[in-house]
């Protein structure tokens, strides 16, 4: 068996490939649903109904889409420059920490100043955190995959220390959580009596902004060159290290903003369950979108549908809600294969 490059890429195939891949992933996962003794059709019907079946369900799904857009963008811009930032989870939490630091009463500003300040602080914290492994990569050639991954564990332990120690809210009846963000720092609701908050608008704007930046800015051009061929970019005079460091600031910043958005839009205070792995899921979101910032918005919505739908489906059927993780992980792998097949054809001899 070997692969033969396709001479011309058939556009409808390129667009259909990820959708087909997701269908294949869902077909594969139906084996597990059958094994658990439920009807496949009923399970998937319940899944989509649970995620999209009512106004409230849609608002919940969009609430979950919000952080996934931001962490997905964080992974997408970094991966485009071949900067393997797997530290989204840590940057998410350090962003939330920074917002907690200045948002719990330290700054007594009106909302129109405080909310932007919180997001800037979170973005800075996330970006600076990613700068550490990025510098180690550019200066000492230390592989950033492992360092960003390990930093996630370090940051989570640090947050654990903060919410059990110096930042513990004495009014929280002993629960390990920090003091709440003051009212001026909270994001408004988009729809009354739902949990959907203005963070979604910030996420959508970030998506469009990231798309415009990668498409039209000098930095966008540079990271495309670096991502395509680092040596070539270097030879043609592109300041590779500078481009990578800018990428790190933007990528880490986006993940940090995801933390602020969840903190100020949803939870209101820093806890250890602020993120159920949004940083890691962001990687899947980015890959499903083919690293396209606008595609990230769609794929974040799809992943949110799967997770929210699986939660409600598992309440009705005897299928564990871990099926959502299995579906998204399988979809990641099938989408990778499908994108390869748009560029190569398989020859069996």
């Amino acid at each position: 068996m070997h692969l033969e490059p396709r001479t011309n890429r058939y556009m409808p195939l390129v667009i259909a490939a990820p959708i087909l891949a997701i269908l294949v992933a869902m077909a594969l996962c139906s084996i597990l649903i059958i094994w658990s003794g439920s009807s496949v059709f009923e399970a998937y019907a319940l899944l989509f109904k649970g995620a999209l079946g009512s106004k409230f369900a849609i608002s919940e799904t969009l609430t979950r889409t919000t952080p996934l857009i931001l962490t997905g963008l964080a992974a997408a811009v970094a991966f485009r420059a071949k900067l393997w930032n797997i530290g989204g989870e840590g940057q998410f939490y350090i962003g939330a920490c920074a917002a907690t630091l200045i948002g719990t009463g330290t700054l007594d500003w009106p909302p129109y100043l405080l909310v932007p300040a919180l997001f800037i602080a979170g973005a800075l914290a996330g970006g600076l955190l990613l700068l550490v492994p990025t510098f180690l990569k550019t200066q000492l050639k230390v592989d950033e995959v492992v360092t960003t991954l390990l930093l996630n564990f370090i940051v989570l332990l640090f947050v654990n220390y903060l919410v059990f120690g110096p930042w513990k809210d004495p009014m929280a009846m002993g629960w390990p959580q920090a003091e709440p963000i003051i009212d001026a720092g909270l994001l408004g609701k988009l729809i009354p009596r739902t949990r959907l908050h203005a963070g979604l608008l910030i996420a959508l704007l970030s998506g469009v902004g990231a798309w415009a930046l990668t498409k039209f800015s000098v930095w966008g051009y540079e990271i495309r060159a670096v991502g395509a061929n680092q040596k070539g970019a270097e030879f043609s005079g592109i300041p590779v290290n500078r481009a990578v460091i800018r990428t790190a600031l933007i990528s880490g910043g986006l993940a940090g903003m995801a933390g602020v958005s969840e903190l100020c839009g949803l939870k209101g205070y820093l806890t250890l369950d602020l993120s159920p792995g949004f940083g890691y899921t962001g990687i899947v979101v980015a890959m499903l979108a083919g690293l396209n910032p606008l595609g990230v918005i769609l794929s974040a919505f799809f992943v949110a549908v799967v997770y929210n739908g699986a939660d409600s489906m598992s309440r009705a059927l005897s299928v564990s809600n871990y099926i959502a993780d299995v579906i998204t992980a399988t979809a990641l792998l099938t989408v990778l294969v499908s994108m390869l097949l748009t560029r190569y054809r398989i020859r069996w001899r």
Binding site: D143, V146, L150, D325, L333, L336
Partner: protein, 314 residues
């Protein structure tokens, strides 16, 4: 610092060290074999997780302990096979595929665990491995009955270091594995099937990772918890760089690592209030990053690592 010396000189300390080192030895050796053949396997964290569950479940369902180890190895090998199909034959990005394998393996593992045991609140327990006393050596007074009495899996790990070191550097098979990791084109010119050999290395390495995982549930503890591997896989990836891709150094690295880890635990127990415990728990991750930084200058990666081999392309 006399306290510190006393601590290190107790045999109990070294027993704890070897116990902590064992899963890392398996994982590091497994990753090392994969990377020597030119394939980065970031599936390690998930494969260790799935191994810890598979072995435990085998024993929980009434199988033998060694059967559990074999079953874990088999399941790990299956995920290794998937990783090599995607990265070796299809040439997909080893970074992204590996992360995908980790996500898929852990998700499947938790799903299966929940489906097989839907109504448990406290994790059920099994009877783990009894420590195995080496004949003669364990009769040495004072140290013999502690240092030379270890879990059989620990002895297996130590034997594997010798076996893999010998195979890699003293057999034609080992030479071929290193060759496809350094210069696959030259290997192919010698009539070596690059894809097959890489697949073999990844499958074997993944089986080892899974055995490292199952050591946690069959020997170190007696139950399976969600999230119990807790970054050990990523630490192994760092340790492979620290070991310069050599099995002997990998053993040294894991022991050194486990020594510091055991030491921080003892210090933590003694000086309870001085530093919050979370900072002690950070130590293994900080040490792994430091190990990477220290070795970064001298790191001689296998030259074909991360580069897919496609016949007819160069």
């Amino acid at each position: 610092m006399p306290d510190l010396l006393d601590m290190i000189l107790t045999t109990g300390f070294w027993v704890a060290t070897l116990r902590m080192a064992t899963p890392l030895i398996f994982g590091t050796l497994g990753e090392l074999v994969c990377e020597r053949s030119g394939v980065l396997n970031l599936g390690i964290e998930g494969i260790m997780t799935v191994g810890s569950m598979a072995g435990w479940m085998w024993v929980y369902q009434g199988g033998s302990l060694w059967g559990g180890v074999l079953f874990a190895a088999f399941v790990g090998a299956l995920f290794g096979l998937l990783h090599s199909l995607l990265t070796v034959y299809l040439g997909l990005s080893q970074h992204v595929t590996g992360l995908g394998i980790t996500m898929l393996a852990s998700a499947l593992c938790y799903f299966v665990f929940r489906m097989l045991l839907p109504n448990v609140t406290t994790p059920p327990k099994i009877v783990p491995f009894e420590p195995f006393a080496l004949p003669l050596l364990s009769k040495i007074p004072v140290i013999g009955d502690t240092i030379f009495v270890q879990s059989p899996l620990t002895w297996l790990a130590l034997l594997l270091v010798i076996f893999i070191s010998y195979t890699l550097f003293a057999t034609p098979l080992g030479l071929a594995v290193r060759m496809v990791g350094e210069n696959p084109l030259a290997a192919e010119a010698q009539g070596i099937n690059v894809h097959l050999l890489r697949t073999g290395a990844v499958v074997f390495g993944s089986a080892l990772m899974a055995v490292g995982g199952t050591y946690l549930t069959l020997s170190a503890f007696d139950a399976f918890y969600i999230g119990m591997v807790n970054g050990r896989g990523w630490i192994c990836v760092a340790l492979v760089v620290f070991a310069s891709w050599k099995p002997g150094k990998a053993l040294l690295g894991t022991i050194l690592f486990a020594t510091f880890d055991a030491l921080q635990m003892r210090v933590q127990q003694q000086a309870r209030t001085a530093i919050p415990y979370q900072f002690y728990l950070m130590a293994p991750y900080v040490m792994s990053i430091l190990a990477l930084i220290i070795m970064s200058r001298r790191a001689a990666y296998p030259k074909a690592l991360l580069i897919p081999f496609r016949r007819g392309e160069r």
